[in-house]
């Protein structure tokens, strides 16, 4: 299935500044796998060391949070949009 993955601003530095990436994938997990395959640096920002999606990163298939669907096994169809939505705080550095 041809799907589009939307990359949020903080992670674009790892995708050669691209705001979205097209790929072929049958599930959301496959799409993210293909993405981190092409852009290895993204991996540690999306996954914990034991391979789980990080809890401050949400992944949406179209407008639904995959945590409330079938998580990474959620099936995709042609033309779907996957969004990576990390938490952002704005403003100051952490140590402030």
């Amino acid at each position: 299935m041809a799907v589009k993955v939307m990359i949020p601003t903080p992670l674009r530095q790892f995708t050669g500044k691209q705001a979205s990436i097209e790929c072929n994938a049958a599930t959301v997990g496959e799409a993210l796998g293909s993405l981190t395959g092409s852009f290895a640096e993204l991996r540690k920002h999306l996954y914990t060391e034991d391979g789980k999606i990080r809890s401050f990163v949400n992944v949406y298939l179209n407008d639904e949070d995959i945590r409330f669907l079938d998580k990474e096994n959620t099936q995709t169809k042609d033309g779907d949009t996957i969004s990576i939505v990390p938490s952002i705080a704005g403003g100051s550095p952490y140590w402030k």
Binding site: T9, F56, F68, A89, G90, G91, Y94
Partner: protein, 392 residues
């Protein structure tokens, strides 16, 4: 469903003749009308943060006639704020943000009450502060405070109008609305420090908080009026570069530790610890002046840290020896402070460390925060790092 704004002792609220004229563009709209304007006048809204998001929030809520505004901020205005924090003027640099904002907002609308809280929001004071307000608006800039605001709002049953920004991107929603999700439903945990760059490192386009803060102001007013469809259960994403708004569904998480079926959080916690911030070492201080030794400075430079060196000696001293810093003699500093970038970490030095301590005291008052005094000045540098450097 309107948020009740009459939880506090009822008092007769009327509009004066001047207020009728001031709010006439509201009054002629049936969605607001006199009744709505009186709701605004009775409303009590607390703004957490008077920075980039707080600027449009304060201005629009004051202009709209929200009768009681609370402003919480511990910070002072610095030059690097002026690019986006449009409540402040150049003349406000060095002043406390709450005071400067109060002066500006009272000028805009002298008929409203503005209460300032010049303090850092903490687990100790949050519930007490929030109790007297109907709606809390989160215009903060860091994860610990965002979780604190969320938790305190949930514990007190108050809505939390949320907005956050990064570079060209913004998010907005309303948490803590009866039956709606909370911030922890969306993000159970914050990112560990260092994984996501902050605005101070990543930057932010000045107009962006203007747009996101205005959306928060609009949602706040809608909640007060009980009009329209509140931004509840929906996360609004704004991409300024693509100039696109998108909307994602935001569901209440049954496993949420704060508002889910099995709640494990029933009181405020230590949010810095929760966000993994403990253990960040503060630099050593002498009389409130943070210091760095010559050896540590050399080590940080060798490591490639971005440190700006400010030399506050006189030009003839600079000719004798220097650390390749920018030269602004102490006496010229007040006049030339605008040549400095307060967002960069700065090491200030002189010959022995005395004048640079005075310079740091001045810069602290001007709102600079990332300052380090080179302990022992160039003399210590010659002793500890570079024996070839002439001493005088």
């Amino acid at each position: 469903m309107a948020i009740p704004t009459d939880t506090l002792p009822k008092q007769e609220v009327k509009l004066s003749k001047e207020e009728v004229l001031r709010y006439s563009r509201h009054l002629i709209m049936p969605e607001v009308g006199l009744e709505g304007q009186l709701k605004l006048k009775r409303a009590r809204v607390l703004l957490i943060g008077t920075g980039g998001l707080g600027a449009p929030l304060g201005l629009y809520l004051a202009a709209a006639g929200v009768g009681h505004l609370g402003l919480v901020d511990f910070d002072v205005v610095d030059f690097s704020n002026l690019q986006r924090q449009v409540t402040f003027s150049t003349g406000d640099v060095g002043k406390h943000k709450t005071e400067a904002a109060k002066a500006r907002l009272s000028g805009l609308n002298p008929t409203i009450e503005i209460q300032t809280f010049e303090t850092r929001l903490t687990s100790e004071n949050a519930l007490e502060l929030f109790r007297d307000f109907d709606i809390i608006v989160d215009g903060t800039d860091n994860f610990p405070t965002r979780y604190l605001v969320n938790d305190a709002c949930l514990l007190l049953g108050k809505p939390n109008v949320y907005g956050s920004i990064f570079r060209f991107e913004g998010q907005a929603t309303v948490f803590g609305y009866p039956g709606g999700p909370c911030y922890r439903c969306l993000y159970p945990e914050p990112p560990p420090p260092g994984l996501v760059p902050s605005c101070a490192e990543g930057g932010v386009l000045g107009v962006l908080p203007g747009i996101v803060g205005s959306i928060q102001a609009m949602e706040t007013i809608k909640l007060i009026l009980g009009t329209g469809e509140p931004l509840v259960g929906r996360l609004l994403l704004f991409d300024a570069l693509g100039m696109r708004f998108r909307e994602l569904k935001l569901r209440k998480n049954p496993a949420c530790p704060l508002c889910g079926d099995n709640r494990t959080i029933t009181k405020l916690i230590d949010y810095e610890e929760f966000c993994g911030i403990r253990g960040e070492e503060a630099p050593p201080m002498t009389d409130g002046i943070p210091e760095i030794s010559a050896k540590d400075l050399k080590a940080r430079q060798d490591r490639g840290d971005d440190l700006f060196i400010l030399d506050v000696r006189e030009p003839h001293e600079y000719q004798i020896c220097n650390l390749n810093g920018k030269l602004i003699p102490l006496g010229e500093l007040p006049r030339r402070v605008n040549e400095l970038d307060s967002s960069r970490e700065m090491v200030v030095h002189c010959r022995s460390g005395k004048r640079s301590a005075d310079a740091i005291q001045f810069l602290q008052k001007a709102g600079f925060k990332k300052l380090l005094n080179l302990k022992g000045g160039v003399l210590a540098w010659a002793d500890e790092v570079d024996p070839a450097m002439p001493k005088y």
